[in-house]
């Protein structure tokens, strides 16, 4: 894991440096770096014994995790450089690297200026996200959580669209402010641990099960919840998202939607609930209500958009509502569904953003009123978009259906009323997805329009995502098996 982080981080520096020799070089360097990282991960995982995947990753026994690394960092506060990986982290890291490649492909011909610095920022934000998914020291987690914002900010602020300064600033301030609340919570937790045990510690393993009295536990939990819900984004903290997504360059949108949002979901799953099981259980109705509200509200707003990217952005709000519901329903089915939704949404939304980027590059607009009948001009693009739209609205046979179905099934056991409301989201999802497809690719067309269809690189990227969505939709079992031990141990942990 350390090597993985080092490869990405140093690769970023290398990509920047390589611009001195050739303005094309950074792309190839970035491609090489991410592919190498992915290969490294694959080889490392393949070499693990099969038995390693079955035990529950336990807080007391680091060796039950797939990988564990610990190095003292700031002994004064009991802070260490502690990384660990279980099935959940593995899937998310793999998704991160894969979407990194996809983002790279999206930026291949879009970014012509200062490619070196662009690719460096791309790689650095990947470093931060991978760090978030494997850090198990809360201080280290916070460091990665904050540091990944800086390259992302630069990606939006330098290479974004017309209103980028506002969007980048809003994105940064929302996440940073809520992050500081989390820092206060982390410190309160560590301080409480120091009071109980006599020494500071920020290790996840030590802090699990720190006794907190009712009111304090609630406030500390709320700090974590706010930070991750802003990131997720949950209603009503979602307002940064449409701006940031719309203004970011395509690669930035892909990273944002695909993986940065998942850090919020991951944080809820890994930290916010297990660290404070009782407070979280009491708070669950509120969180679920926010999730359900997000599903419907996001869908209604998505329906009202005329901007292609904004529509997709609001659909993210709606989809992430399912993740929030799944997590707070807190049973095996719903959690599996939430994890599945994270992966499926990462793929399908990344693909839709890439479509939006491709359209913008070709037509110089994201306004759907100026589109219509594009299928006529670019059938390959239309076919891909059709498939991803279907995925997004939850067509059986594709990954998103599996995810939403599992969440609803689990949720029905925990809170039937919420499940009924959330199920409405499937209907509204179909409405806005279809209207998007209708306005852009169908309807009366103009055969004389100059619109180059997908080239080989874009088609390949799209096909990879199509293949993954179909595979996970038809045969989700391997992924579910990989995360089952994690889910079981989280449930065990929270039940005390």
């Amino acid at each position: 894991m350390v090597y993985l982080l080092a490869i990405l981080f140093l690769g970023g520096g290398l990509a920047w440096f390589s611009e001195r020799f050739n303005s094309q070089a950074p792309r190839w360097v970035a491609l090489g770096v991410i592919s190498f990282a992915l290969l490294y991960l694959a080889v490392a995982v393949a070499r693990l014994p099969v038995e390693q995947f079955s035990p529950l990753p336990s807080a007391q026994l680091p060796e039950t995790w797939l990988a564990h690394f610990k190095l003292d960092w700031i002994p004064r506060f009991g802070i260490s450089f502690e990384l660990a990986m279980d099935g959940l982290s593995l899937i998310l890291v793999a998704l991160t690297l894969l979407l990194g490649l996809i983002a790279l492909s999206a930026s291949w011909s879009e970014i012509e200026e200062r490619t070196g610095f662009f690719q460096a920022n791309l790689l650095w934000s990947l470093t931060g996200v991978v760090g978030v998914f494997v850090a198990l020291d809360l201080f280290l987690f916070f460091v990665f959580y904050e540091v990944m914002l800086v390259p992302m900010y630069l990606l939006i602020a330098i290479w974004g669209h017309e209103d980028r300064a506002y969007a980048a600033m809003k994105f940064f301030i929302f996440t940073q402010l809520s992050g500081l609340l989390m820092l206060v919570s982390i410190l309160a937790l560590a301080y409480q641990h120091a009071v109980v045990s006599g020494s500071y510690s920020f290790s996840y393993f030590d802090l699990l099960g720190t006794p907190l009295e009712g009111a304090l536990a609630f406030w500390v939990m709320l700090g974590f919840f706010l930070a991750f819900t802003v990131k997720l984004p949950g209603f009503p903290f979602h307002t940064w998202l449409p701006d940031a997504h719309t203004q970011a360059p395509t690669a930035g949108s892909v990273l944002l939607a695909g993986i940065l949002l998942k850090t919020g979901a991951y944080g809820l799953l890994r930290f916010a609930v297990p660290l404070f099981p009782e407070a979280a259980a009491e708070f669950a109705p509120v969180a679920m209500a926010l999730g359900a509200a997000g599903i419907l509200y996001g869908a209604v707003l998505a329906f009202a958009q005329t901007d292609f990217k904004r529509l997709v952005a609001y659909s993210s709000v709606s989809h992430m509502g399912f993740v929030l519901l799944g997590i707070y329903a807190w049973n095996s089915l719903a959690l599996q569904g939430a994890i599945m939704q994270m992966v499926a949404h990462g793929l399908s939304t990344a693909a839709l953003f890439m479509t939006a980027g491709a359209l913008q590059q070709r037509m110089h607009t994201r306004d759907m009123s100026r589109m219509g009948g594009l299928w006529l001009n670019a059938p390959r693009m239309g076919a891909c978009t059709l498939l991803f739209t279907m995925a997004s609205l939850g067509l059986p046979g594709l990954a998103n259906f599996v995810a939403e179905f599992l969440v609803l099934l689990g949720l029905f056991q925990a809170a039937p009323l919420m499940a009924v409301i959330a199920a409405l989201g499937l209907v509204t999802g179909a409405v806005y997805s279809l209207i998007m497809l209708q306005r852009s690719f169908q309807g009366p067309g103009d055969a004389s329009r100059e619109l180059p269809d997908y080239g080989g690189r874009e088609l390949l990227t799209m096909l990879v995502m199509v293949a993954l969505l179909i595979w996970l939709g038809i045969h989700p079992q391997p992924l579910l098996e990989l995360t089952q031990p994690t889910v079981d141990s989280l449930l065990l942990e929270a039940s005390g």
Binding site: P75, L149, L154, A157, I158, Q176, L177, L180, L187, Y191
Partner: protein
Amino acid sequence: MSGVNWLAVAPLLVLSGGAVLLMLVVSVRRSTEVACVTTTLIMAAALLSCLWARTAIPEIVTPLLLADGYALFFCALFIGCGLVTAIIAREYLLLRAGENEEFFLLLLLSTLGAATLAYANHFASLLLGMELLSVSLYALIGYPDKLLRPLEAAIKYLVLSAAASATFLFGFALLYAAVGVLDYPAMGAALAAADNPVLLAAAALIIAGLGYKLSAVPFHMWTPDVYEGAPAPIAGFLAAVSKGAIFAALLRWWMAAGLYELPGLLTVIGIVAGASMLVGNLLALLQDNIKRVLAYSSIAHMGYLLIVLVACGMVPDPSLAMEAAAYYLVAYTLTNLAAFTLLGLLSRASGTDELDTVADLDGLFWRQPGLSLLFTVALLSLAGIPLTAGFIGKFYLFSAGVAGELWGLLALLVIGSGLGLFYYLRLVYRMTLKAEPQTQPPSTPGWSARLTCYGLVLAMLYFGIVPAPLMEILRTIL
């Protein structure tokens, strides 16, 4: 005084002797280069003597000075800042016609003042150090005597700083009348026993005087004007050393006299801290001039620091809060010095005389990538983004605040940091804008200045990534 006594205050002696030496050198040969090199060497010698003096501590040298780890650590920090300022000032002065040698003389004297403050253990030495520091600064701020703005700034600083000193002195007089002692350790006991209404007036006057010097709200009005008018290297020195030294002296007083046990004082400091954070950050949002932005941000940073003084009184064991104050002070000094220094160098490199408004930064990232990147790191450190010294400082503040359960002040700290991000990021954003076609050819600053800046920024990153060694040092000296 014995030999050990002399050794324990070696840095002060080296600086004083150096000032005399420089005066002689200037009378023999007037040259900016020679004066700069001499000053650099004197500062370096003083730094080394700090190391040497470590063998002689702890030692009470006359009732006025206490030579201990704390004194030597901060002494070394401020001399280091003086060294940086001397090297950077060369760039600035070489372009200026007229006599420049006295600039270095004044710089040595004001560094001596800062070093004395680090040693101060008595009101007399506190006042001596403070006046030495400020009086040299009046002249340094107004050094470009043909320009209007520096002169205006110098007058403003002179009048307000003198008024603050007078207030401060009067407060001391009242305090002395009430308790009858002037050295810190004895004062703690005397204050705990005393119950005299005169003390209230004394406390008010002293807080006002210190508030001026630290530019805490509501005594902050002079700061933006003075920073804006002062030459860039001096603005950095003013922000980093002048405030840092006074805070270091205050912290020592706070600790030695146990002032944190007086609840009324804690309330007042808490209010001042909250107001500084809010007002500093809010007003920084409205500024278009970069130096004014940094000036208001330094007001806010002083507010952050004052939280720690309050935290001292709310916990059974104030050592964590002290450590937090010391770490934040180091981070603050380094970061502010770096930010102002880089701003000065960037203006020089971009061909304009002084970078004034935020709009002047446009496109700098692509014209001067190296310096701009360093400036970005300094701004991120001011904003408290992880991997920089500023973040560890803020982390310490948060831990001290949580330990003291100061939820209200912590909320203000979070809000202030959010506001702060906005104006720091605005500067970064302006730098990344598309470059205008350049009118003047860029001039690169000399190697010594560039090397110094790299050193400063590396130190900032080092203390942000590997903070453990510095934490250990601070724990041993407190």
